[in-house]
């Protein structure tokens, strides 16, 4: 669908926009490296059960005698704990890879739902204008004037703890960014001839909105979406660290870090240190990819 629309728009400049996009993206070695790192992290998370030496959520596999072992120790089960173990004898490496799974799912899932809601409302605001527009944009302003952590805390205070509530909180906190971005682009695009042409053909409104207007608003949406995934992962980790997120039996990265807190004071640094490094690498790699996407997709920076 989008393939049919995008080449039509800039066909007079290049033959294959996708190939040009790829080569422009690859111009930055840092961004390319970040993308590779991110793909590796994603693959690790997807194939976690086949990679990790231990299922960190299966309490039967954990040996409490192996608790708080230093990195590199060989445990009772016969394999080496390369990154040490936590207080319950959980292999940190396995815990981190499974934790990445939760962090990525929550981050990407909430970003996707927020994107669907935000983009639809943004399109509607730009297309309908008038009263609808001002009501939606007031809501966006209200949402953006409060810091994300506060809005998330408020929602979790009402709904209670739990992973689904964290996702709901993240969606409610983030939709406004998408709505604002899409509205801004759509306001420009809707004055173009192709929209006028579609309207002249008396196509139904939803068709004009989603088949004609939306595909042309995608580039900035993709950039915002990438950055928001990183933000969502960071926010989920923070909420879990505060004890408001995922349950203790299936720790995400934030909760792993929180678990290590009390042992850090006695010098057992690895329980908190390594999950933090994993979190950092994930967030930085997504941000670097997003930065490069913004540069490539921004028409103002093109010659």
């Amino acid at each position: 669908m989008s393939d049919a629309v995008i080449p039509g728009k800039i066909a007079d400049k290049v033959e294959t926009p996708f190939r040009r996009f790829v080569s422009e993206f690859a111009e930055s070695k840092v961004a390319l490296g970040a993308l590779v790192v991110f793909i590796i992290i994603t693959l690790l998370a997807i194939f976690a059960p086949w990679i990790t030496p231990q299922n960190p959520y299966d309490l039967a596999e954990l040996d409490i005698m192996d608790g708080r072992m230093e990195p590199g120790t060989v445990g009772g089960a016969g394999f080496t704990y390369w990154l040490g173990t936590d207080d319950q004898g959980r292999d940190m490496l396995s815990g981190i890879i499974y934790g990445l799974r939760i962090s990525l799912t929550v981050g990407a899932g909430s970003a996707l739902i927020a994107c669907l809601i935000g983009a639809s409302l943004g399109l509607l605001a730009a297309y309908a204008g008038g009263r609808t527009d001002s009501v939606i944009m007031r809501l966006v302003d209200l949402q953006l004037s409060f810091p994300t952590i506060l809005a998330a805390l408020m929602i979790l205070a009402f709904l209670g703890k739990g992973i689904m509530n964290v996702v709901i909180a993240l969606v409610l906190v983030e939709w406004a960014y998408y709505a604002r971005t899409v509205r801004g682009t759509a306001l420009v695009e809707r004055r173009r001839e192709y929209i006028e042409a579609a309207q002249c053909l008396a196509l139904p409104t939803h068709r004009v909105l989603f088949r004609h207007l939306l595909p042309n608003c995608l580039p900035p949406l993709i950039v915002v979406g990438t950055m928001q995934v990183a933000r969502a992962i960071a926010l989920e980790a923070t909420l879990s660290f505060l004890g408001l997120g995922v349950p203790i039996t299936e720790p995400s990265l934030g909760l792993l870090i929180a678990n290590g807190y009390e042992y850090m004071l006695s010098g057992k640094y690895w329980i908190s240190f390594y999950p933090g490094i994993a979190l950092l690498i994930t967030i930085v790699s997504i941000n670097l990819v997003g930065d490069q996407l913004r540069d490539v997709l921004n028409p103002r920076l093109k010659k």
């Binding site: 004037s145 810091p147 979790l156 205070a157 009402f158 923070t238 004071l265 640094y269 908190s272 967030i283």
Partner: protein, 325 residues
């Protein structure tokens, strides 16, 4: 100007009302109010008496009216845990959070401004690149993890600073402040630095962009042509002009710094409002949650109002524009 002021005040009032409805619905309608407002230890007779006393048998709009009247009188319920008025608890913790937020702001300015100035004056030097790369890191690093690492390095391994708590406090205006004692300052250093990380990055970026823009201005070229020393051009002509936007943004950020202190306070066991709200959410001490949310909403609306009014005084375009709509 008066018209604008009245309009803006009315708007703020409307938002406060809207937020009070949201908080009310959140606590009184989504959850079971009996469970939320009455201590779980209460027996059946106590429960019924409390339902009567709290007016939970009334229709919802009447309950809201009662909630609002009580809130206006400063009564936001009693904490189950401390058995004290929730508002009083919050106000007691406020100085701790405030001094942390101000400490973070000062850190952001004394670290961010010189670094940003350097990066702006020598954009191509190696040190500038290091500064800019670290500022990206400052945006990406999860605050709570950095806090833990600070404790690990400075408290556990080096033993230079105390890891948690507020230390000795001095009394000023009837409130307890840590910045009045040396021990308190030592306790404050790490949390304040932790809270300021994001803002240091922000100040560096703003200052750098401002310097690069200002260096191209005619008045800077003219000052140079007059033969003024580079130091005088930098600090009088450039620095003064970039200070206004930087200070404005940092002031605007004060609200979000107070909100984000929730995380820092939890890491460093700093007994402020943020630590209180997290503890209250964990033990379901709902009156305190309601009081905190209402307080912070009020604070935010006040900050936004002050910023808008200051802007409209400084820049006539703002108030003329809103008159047109």
């Amino acid at each position: 100007m008066t018209v604008y002021l009245v309009r803006r005040l009315l708007q703020a009032l409307l938002v406060v009302l809207a937020m009070s409805v949201i908080v009310f619905i959140g606590v009184f309608a989504i959850g079971d109010p009996v469970e939320i407002l009455i201590s779980p230890d209460a027996d059946q007779i106590e429960r019924e008496r409390a339902v009567q006393a709290l007016g939970l048998d009334l229709p919802l709009w009447q309950q809201y009216a009662v909630f609002l009247t009580k809130a206006l009188q400063g009564d936001l319920g009693r904490s189950f845990v401390y058995n004290e008025p929730a508002l009083k608890l919050i106000l007691q913790r406020m100085p701790a959070t405030m001094e942390l937020a101000f400490g973070a702001t000062i850190f952001a300015l004394i670290i961010g401004l010189p670094l940003g100035l350097y990066a702006g004056l020598r954009p191509n030097s190696r040190f500038s690149r290091v500064i800019m790369a670290s500022s990206i890191l400052g945006f990406s690093l999860p605050t709570f993890w950095v806090g833990l690492m600070l404790i690990m390095v400075f408290a556990v391994y080096l033993g230079w600073l105390p890891s948690t708590g507020r230390g000795d406090t001095g009394t000023l205006l009837g409130m307890q402040w840590s910045f009045l004692t040396w021990d308190g300052l030592r306790h404050m250093a790490m949390p304040a630095l932790n809270l300021s990380l994001f803002k240091i990055s922000l100040v560096i970026r703003l200052t750098r962009a401002g310097v690069r823009e200002t260096m191209l201005m005619d008045y800077v070229k003219f000052a140079r042509a007059k033969g003024l020393s580079p130091a005088r051009v930098t600090f009088v002509h450039v620095f003064k002009n970039i200070l206004i936007p930087v200070v404005t943004v940092v002031g605007l950020e004060l609200g979000s710094t107070i909100a984000f202190s929730v995380v820092t306070e939890s890491v460093f066991a700093w007994p402020g409002m943020g630590k209180l709200i997290i503890d209250s959410i964990n033990v379901l001490d709902r009156p305190v949650i309601v009081a905190y949310l209402m307080m912070i909403v009020l604070m935010f609306i006040a900050i936004n109002l002050i910023v808008d009014l200051t802007y409209s005084m400084l820049d006539p375009r703002v108030r003329l524009e809103s008159k047109g709509t």
